[in-house]
Symmetry: C2
Subunit: 336 residues, 2 copies
DNA sequence: GGCCACATTGGAAGCGCTTCCAAGATTATA
DNA sequence: TATAATCTTGGAAGCGCTTCCAATGTGGCC
């Protein structure tokens, strides 16, 4: 049988309360007693039962995270950042994925709540009213991640997808493009992609360039990107730039252009979003938006920790910024 | 305040034990009582506290998973599969990553054990002796995933990396290649990649083709694949095929060949491993090994569930198989 | 009608910990 | 040295649930 706190107490000839105090780093334990307790813990190979602690202390040391899908490295990286940071603080992550469905998201959050997590991380800033209410009522700190909003449930750590989309369009405009089509992933609509597109639309208005019918692809896949090229050609109007909502779409588009012998960026400039590893390796390399998601995750972890230690968070909204990386897929066309 | 079981009991005019029985689907509760309890649960919006249940029942309903890194979609997909399956059964996943470091893996497992998971999923079949001992001593069911072994800690769900590597080499041989170099990722050595390489070596021996010095790249990245091409050229011997340990390396190699104007598969055939989405989209499309990782995960979840319901598992070793997908990167060279 | 087997139920004990309170030990102060 | 203030400490209560045991109720059977 595993040793329990009473065994340690008996072995060290102290009360259970004292062992608990040693374990939790309370300062009012004499050096001598502490040493004896630590020795006993060592000898008995005692490992505290965190389930029991969770019940007694009403703190589980667990944080619940909900992402749309783990398979996309973007989300996985954020989770990795959060885990890395929190692990150092003895906190464990419980994970679920919603498949981009807000109703599923709500269900998962309800289910997680029964496990009494100390805090929640959820992806994005769009959630059903029920979700917002459940989370608010629970009184648990919540960090939303991956975008910005003025009305977070509690806190938000992200970057402005709107502004990034807007700046990309401006970049294309500066490079001489006037016929820019936006490619969005229709099947996995979410606030991040929606805001990127809104940024594009805002820029079009600012620049007074005609906003082309955007090409909606069925899925956020390489195939979707290829299909977008086909749809663009079918538009029957001149298009000189494709602003894709994700790198996956953009890479799919580049590869399709390779197959169709469309010169990139000569005939068609292409931009992505995410700076996946493939973005810098593909020929031509892809202009895109880079977000350091591991550090976004770590940052979210930090905020989570502050919130649950009761510390006041300096700001409800943490902007980790983004960086536009210009590469070959949008280089100005030589000799024009 | 949240309702607790005693509140429900009082409201339904029954004992707490009866409510518990209703909650846990015990059959010895009269229809009438059950209905009354359910009504009270509904009315009070009672949600059981799973932490307390975990302590009392000595079952937490949590399964711990340890992967090398979440950022690689392969692992994320397995996790997604496990989660999907287990969620339906009210089980939640606790997740950690080891960064391909067996010592870190041990630490994480120790830390997780304090949370009393009902079972463990861990990636791969290579673990430190300490890890194996800790897990054995804990008496918790363990599923190792992603490879096969005759000596699992408990159970294993995977496929034969050895056999896949071996068959790939045979395929290249059938297509007329005799100078095959294996590219492995040196920095993240793990049993899966090691076994793929061993399969290659076994095939070389069987086919009596000279085994070239394998090119070791520093990292499992696109850059690593590009570098492998450089190293291969520096070998100063004829090489007509590159058998890469992962799709990432293979794609990196294809892109480097594009830059260096090496015809694939004309001058050099290339194979990968994993069947990432990019494998079928890239030009030329990549011959690789496909594993349905989501269903591997679901399968692992099923075994986990069987193990912890005490059910006898038909076999300690579950082989989910793999599939070699031949694409353009190894098509026989025309006219020879 | 009496007895037994079985179904149903209430309630106490206990899961392993934290935390509060009160008591005892120690130190500072006069 | 006496007293107050402060540090340590043990131990009980309690976190919200499950589960066991005993008690009650129910019906069948002779």
């Amino acid at each position: 049988m595993r040793a329990k706190i009473a065994d340690v107490a008996r072995h060290a000839r102290v009360g259970a309360g004292t062992v608990s105090r040693v374990l939790n780093g309370a300062k009012n334990v004499s050096r001598h007693t502490r040493a004896r307790v630590l020795a006993s813990i060592d000898e008995l190979e005692y490992v505290p039962n965190l389930v029991a602690r969770g019940l007694a202390a009403n703190r589980t040391g667990i944080i619940a995270a909900v992402v749309p899908a783990l398979g996309y490295s973007q989300h996985a990286e954020v989770i990795q950042g959060i885990t890395e940071f929190l692990h150092e603080h003895g906190i464990t992550l419980m994970i679920g994925h919603s498949g981009y469905d807000l109703e599923v998201e709500r269900e998962i959050i309800s289910a997680f709540l029964a496990r009494r997590p100390d805090a929640f991380y959820i992806t994005g800033v769009d959630h059903s009213e029920a979700t917002r209410r459940i989370l608010r009522d629970s009184g648990v700190p919540v960090v939303e991640g991956g975008n910005l909003t003025d009305t977070p449930i509690d806190c938000v750590v992200g970057y402005s997808n709107f502004e990034a989309g807007r700046q990309l369009t401006h970049l294309l405009h500066e490079r001489g493009h006037r016929h820019i089509v936006h490619v969005n992933n229709g099947s996995e609509v979410n606030d991040r992609n929606r805001d990127r597109q809104r940024g594009y639309e805002a820029a079009c208005a600012e620049l007074k360039i005609a906003k082309k019918k955007r090409v909606i692809t069925g899925t956020n896949t390489l195939d979707g990107g290829a299909q977008a090229v086909a749809e663009m050609l079918a538009l029957g109007r001149p298009v000189d730039a494709l602003q894709c909502g994700t790198d996956v779409l953009a890479v799919g588009a580049i590869l399709e252009c390779q197959r169709r012998d469309i010169a990139v960026p000569g005939q068609l400039a292409i931009t992505g979003f995410d700076d996946l590893p493939i973005a810098s390796a593909i020929v031509p390399s892809l202009t895109t938006v880079k977000i350091d998601r591991i550090s976004l995750g770590r940052r979210a972890g930090r905020v989570l920790l502050q919130r649950l230690s009761g510390e006041m968070v300096p700001s409800k909204v943490v902007d980790v910024g983004f960086q536009i990386v210009e590469r070959a897929s949008t280089k100005p066309r030589a000799g024009r």
